[in-house]
């Protein structure tokens, strides 16, 4: 009784990655441990993949 599309399902990607930044409610931005703004560090963002289009995410219903 399983729908056809679910024959192609895979285990969901584990997206609960540890990120080296935390949200600063005063700045309304995520900051790194050295105080730098995470969004300015494009190399880091590329490495972490936190801005990517990722299927199977609970939070990214629109990829």
């Amino acid at each position: 009784m399983q729908p056809f599309a679910l024959n192609y399902a895979r285990p969901a990607a584990e997206l609960e990655v540890s990120t080296p930044y935390v949200y600063d409610s005063g700045l309304q931005l995520n900051v790194l441990s050295d105080g730098r703004i995470a969004a300015r560090d494009h190399a880091l963002m590329r490495e972490l993949g936190t801005t990517t289009s990722t299927a199977g995410s609970k939070t990214h219903f629109d990829d």
């Binding site: 409610s25 963002m45 990517t52």
Partner: protein, 324 residues
């Protein structure tokens, strides 16, 4: 006047826009509706024929009438982190917040009504057809025989979720996948199934639209690449690419019909260079494209959000999401 951003704290992509708004001196209030009624509070009164409303978060207080724009990015479910969460409280909090915001004169990226409609992928396909975008032959059906007949006509098929969502019980991902030539379509009867002619692509295209601005990026693929670009582990970077005038015209028509201020279009480029429409994500990610290409998408969003609220679109059906 203030830009209101509804998103989660961990949304570092939204940070890319906040940075630009801060640099231009535009006031920003960022909050997650999930934090109602803990870290986020609201109040609105309808007295003597007028409305006065306020939102507060992290020590910031903003007048709802003082909003120039609302950006719905990645908001959590209203009141999801309340001390005693419940479905009823979520409904109450969502109605209070979005109900009050809907009454203000701010511009939306994207308006909730337009966003909800735009998430329907079957609707997307029809709008794309009407706007002149090439759409791969597609069937959505619960008839196994219709699926078999379609497979006879188009032997090389992919299957993907109609809704674009993924099952959570247990959590699984359902990527766009090639259908085996000898597939048994009996299970089509157990759920609407979207089958689509596979485009033999030589590149993936991500076209990000911010208002009237179109920024396209291209990533070359090989024949053995994943069908679903989201699962492609290729380290080939995205590169800026020009948008053909005909495609640009069709995409702008799509945005007008969908009443969207922001959209992220996915296309598959075939060997002839034709861009085949796959979908338009009304809140699609853009950070990974900007990081690779250097295209000023975040800046474009910031500039759109920063425009004065006094501007009004020409259409009157309530979306107020478009750019002239």
């Amino acid at each position: 006047m203030t830009v209101l951003i509804l998103t989660s704290e961990e949304d570092v992509t939204a940070d890319m826009v906040v940075v630009h708004l801060n640099a231009s001196g535009v006031p920003v209030v960022r909050l997650d509706p999930a934090d109602l009624t803990g870290g986020v509070a609201l109040s609105g009164e309808y007295v003597h024929g007028a409305f006065r409303g306020h939102l507060s978060s992290a020590g910031r207080l903003v007048s709802i009438e003082g909003l120039r724009s609302v950006w719905i990015r990645r908001p959590g479910t209203a009141a999801a982190r309340a001390a005693v969460p419940s479905g009823w409280l979520t409904e109450e909090a969502g109605q209070a917040l979005y109900g009050m915001l809907r009454g203000c004169d701010a511009r939306w990226m994207n308006h909730p009504d337009a966003a909800r409609r735009a998430r329907h992928k079957p609707w997307q396909l029809r709008v794309a057809q009407r706007c002149g975008l090439p759409v791969p032959a597609t069937l959505i059906t619960t008839f196994p025989q219709a699926a078999r007949d379609f497979a006879d006509r188009y032997p090389d098929l992919v299957v993907k979720p109609v809704s674009g969502t993924h099952p959570q019980d247990p959590p699984r991902a359902v990527p766009t996948s090639r259908v085996a030539p000898d597939a048994d379509f009996s299970a089509v009867a157990f759920g609407p199934t979207l089958l689509q002619r596979r485009v033999a692509k030589r590149a993936d295209i991500r076209l990000t639209v911010v208002g009237e601005r179109l920024l396209a990026a291209r990533r070359a693929t090989d024949a053995e690449a994943e069908v679903d670009v989201r699962f492609d582990t290729s380290d080939v970077p995205w590169c800026p690419v020009e948008v053909a005038p005909r495609v640009a015209e069709a995409v702008r028509a799509y945005m007008r019909e969908a009443e969207l201020a922001y959209g992220a279009f996915d296309f598959a480029e075939d060997a002839d260079g034709t861009w085949w429409f796959l979908e338009c994500n009304q809140s699609g990610q853009f950070g990974f494209i900007e990081v690779d290409t250097g295209q000023p998408i975040a800046l474009g969003i910031a500039e759109w959000l920063a425009r004065p609220a006094s501007w009004r679109p020409s259409r009157v059906n309530g979306a107020r999401a478009q750019v002239p």
